[in-house]
């Protein structure tokens, strides 16, 4: 939970300083891997940032996200793409909307077209190489940068190429595999040439610091080229964007782009963002509540969640009743021993539903019911008010509770 908070704080900082170049801002946050921070900050193109954003993500994922929830991961990964689109008019049919949000960049919506299937864990795991990952991932933007250097006019195909390259580089976890795949999958002749050069270069210099330095130099060069190109092509657009970002330096806005074929009304965009946020949370909940993998539909899912929470609360009540009847001999030593045993005698406690399997295997339950209390037979003869309440509300897994009577 602490990791989530750190992530959230980071996101809020990002959102509050969105007046700056959004790329550099998110780059700062993402680039907690110190060495690649400079790379991210200096690029202006969509895909170089994209590629380097991934490699910093691989560095920072272990420290930022303990894996407890997927939400921050997806949010961190997704921002680069739509943010960069605001600075380049790549898709002419798209529409830019400023959408205020309290969570800032955390709530970006975005579907990366090439990664739209959304299996984020696969993507991230393929990037999960500590040092070598940094090198392999940065190979992709290098390719893109070389393409730009070559002066290809069509930016969209460049982006597509680099996306494919990124995809390819992400698939290859080993350097050999990566080289082969990239060589075989690169579509344009320029790419193959650059790939061959790049790989030979990589083979010669395996030192990570050297590679990084080269990348930094190249990226700076490329950045100048790109900025020159942009200045040449889209002066007015950039001026507008800069002025917009300058006007609202402290607002937390989400830049949302409407996809092709969708309504571009600002209200419907906001609605869509909201709906996607909600469905994200529902997916998380689906993972938490056991047995909800096949359920599709908010209403049924909500019912399941409500039932599950009710059953958990009932279990807490029942267990506290049990603890109230038990006569504990608590000394300090015993407490310490108990603490450690408690944490480790989970055993087959995976299924909260089943009271039967839930009782740890080493301690058979029925023998342990204290005599002299009628509370030992739960839910069938509730003598007290609390038990009656519990019984009346017990519509969740009734069959499992009957295992007490064994």
């Amino acid at each position: 939970m602490g990791t989530e908070d750190n992530g959230d704080m980071g996101f809020q900082h990002r959102g509050s300083s969105s007046g700056m170049n959004p790329i550099s801002v998110s780059g700062k946050i993402l680039g907690r891997a110190m060495s690649s921070g400079a790379i991210i900050k200096s690029t202006n193109g969509a895909d170089p940032f994209f590629g380097s954003g991934w490699d910093s993500l691989s560095m920072s994922q272990s420290e930022n996200f303990g894996g407890s929830s997927m939400v921050p991961l997806t949010d961190v990964a997704n921002p680069p793409f739509p943010l960069l689109l605001t600075n380049q008019a790549i898709d002419s049919s798209s529409h830019l909307v400023h959408y205020p949000s309290d969570l800032g960049l955390v709530d970006m919506v975005p579907k990366l077209p090439s990664f739209g299937s959304g299996n984020f864990s696969e993507m991230v795991s393929s990037f999960g190489l500590p040092e070598s990952g940094q090198i392999t991932n940065s190979g992709c933007p290098i390719n893109y940068l070389r393409n730009r250097e070559g002066g290809t006019a069509n930016t969209s195909t460049n982006n597509a190429d680099c996306q494919e390259n990124c995809q390819v580089s992400e698939e290859g976890s080993s350097p050999n595999g990566r080289r082969k795949r990239r060589a075989s999958n690169s579509p344009s002749p320029m790419n193959t040439n650059k790939n061959a050069e790049r790989e030979q270069h990589k083979e010669s210099s395996k030192d990570s610091s050297e590679c990084l330095k080269e990348q930094e130099e190249k990226k700076q060069k490329i950045e100048q080229n790109i900025s020159a190109n942009l200045r040449g092509k889209q002066t007015s657009k950039q001026a507008k964007d800069n002025s917009n970002s300058g006007e609202a330096p402290k607002e937390n806005y989400i830049h949302v782009r409407a996809k092709r074929g969708q309504a571009t009304n600002s209200h419907s965009l906001a609605e869509r963002v909201r709906r996607e946020r909600i469905s994200e949370r529902m997916r998380l909940l689906q993972e938490l509540v056991p047995g909800c993998n096949k359920i599709t539909g908010k209403a049924v899912m909500l019912d399941e969640i409500i039932n599950y929470v009710q059953s958990l609360q009932q279990q807490v009540e029942f267990l506290s009743m049990k603890l109230a009847t038990v006569n504990p001999e608590l000394n300090d030593d015993i407490e310490r021993i108990l603490t450690k045993d408690i944490l480790h005698s989970r055993g087959s406690n995976a299924a909260i539903f089943g009271f039967g399997p839930g009782l740890s295997s080493s301690y058979p339950f029925p023998q342990g019911i204290p005599q002299g209390t009628s509370l030992s037979i739960p839910f069938t003869t509730p003598p007290l008010n609390p038990m009656a309440q519990v019984a009346s509300r017990c519509h969740y897994p009734a069959p499992s509770l009957s295992s007490f009577e064994d």
Partner: protein
């Protein structure tokens, strides 16, 4: 069974902290209130044990979460309500809070959200999005609570 055999894998996890705090509370409880087998006493103890479990869980989570803050607030109010001096002020506070909270129920397809709000502490004043967030965290903490309490109960009754 030596103490060094079983070391908690993560000494600062919620589970560990909850277990430690709950055991301390139980120890204190048992010192102050002798065990008796009359049903009334047991019922009283049950309520106190449940309160202790919820309070220790909420305090371990801290004020990071809306539900833990709401739970702690409720428990403290309950303690304050016992003091007759402050009854009026607490009552006024509660009324004001209810009025200002409102019920954001405009979302389509979320009719059951109202039921969920009643279940999750502090859920009345949240919108759907944060309600789902809080529910996820609440479920996680409830499962750890149930696990720890079950282990304690099993150890005692064996």
């Amino acid at each position: 069974m030596t103490l060094h055999q079983h070391l908690p894998s993560n000494p600062r996890s919620i589970k560990t902290r909850f277990a430690i705090r709950f055991l301390q509370t139980l120890k204190r409880l048992n010192k102050n209130r002798p065990i008796s087998s009359s049903l009334r006493e047991i019922h009283g103890r049950y309520r106190i044990v449940k309160l202790a479990a919820d309070a220790s869980m909420a305090s371990v989570v801290g004020s990071r979460r809306v539900w833990s803050r709401a739970l702690l607030w409720k428990i403290r109010n309950r303690a304050l309500r016992c003091n007759s001096m402050k009854r009026k002020r607490i009552h006024a506070l509660r009324v004001r809070r209810r009025g200002g909270g409102g019920h954001p129920t405009r979302e389509s397809g979320f009719g059951q959200a109202n039921d969920l709000r009643k279940l999750v502490p502090g859920g009345e004043v949240m919108d759907i999005c944060s309600l789902l967030d809080e529910t996820a965290d609440y479920i996680k903490c409830l499962t750890t609570q149930v696990q720890v309490m079950r282990n304690i109960a099993d150890l005692y009754t064996s």
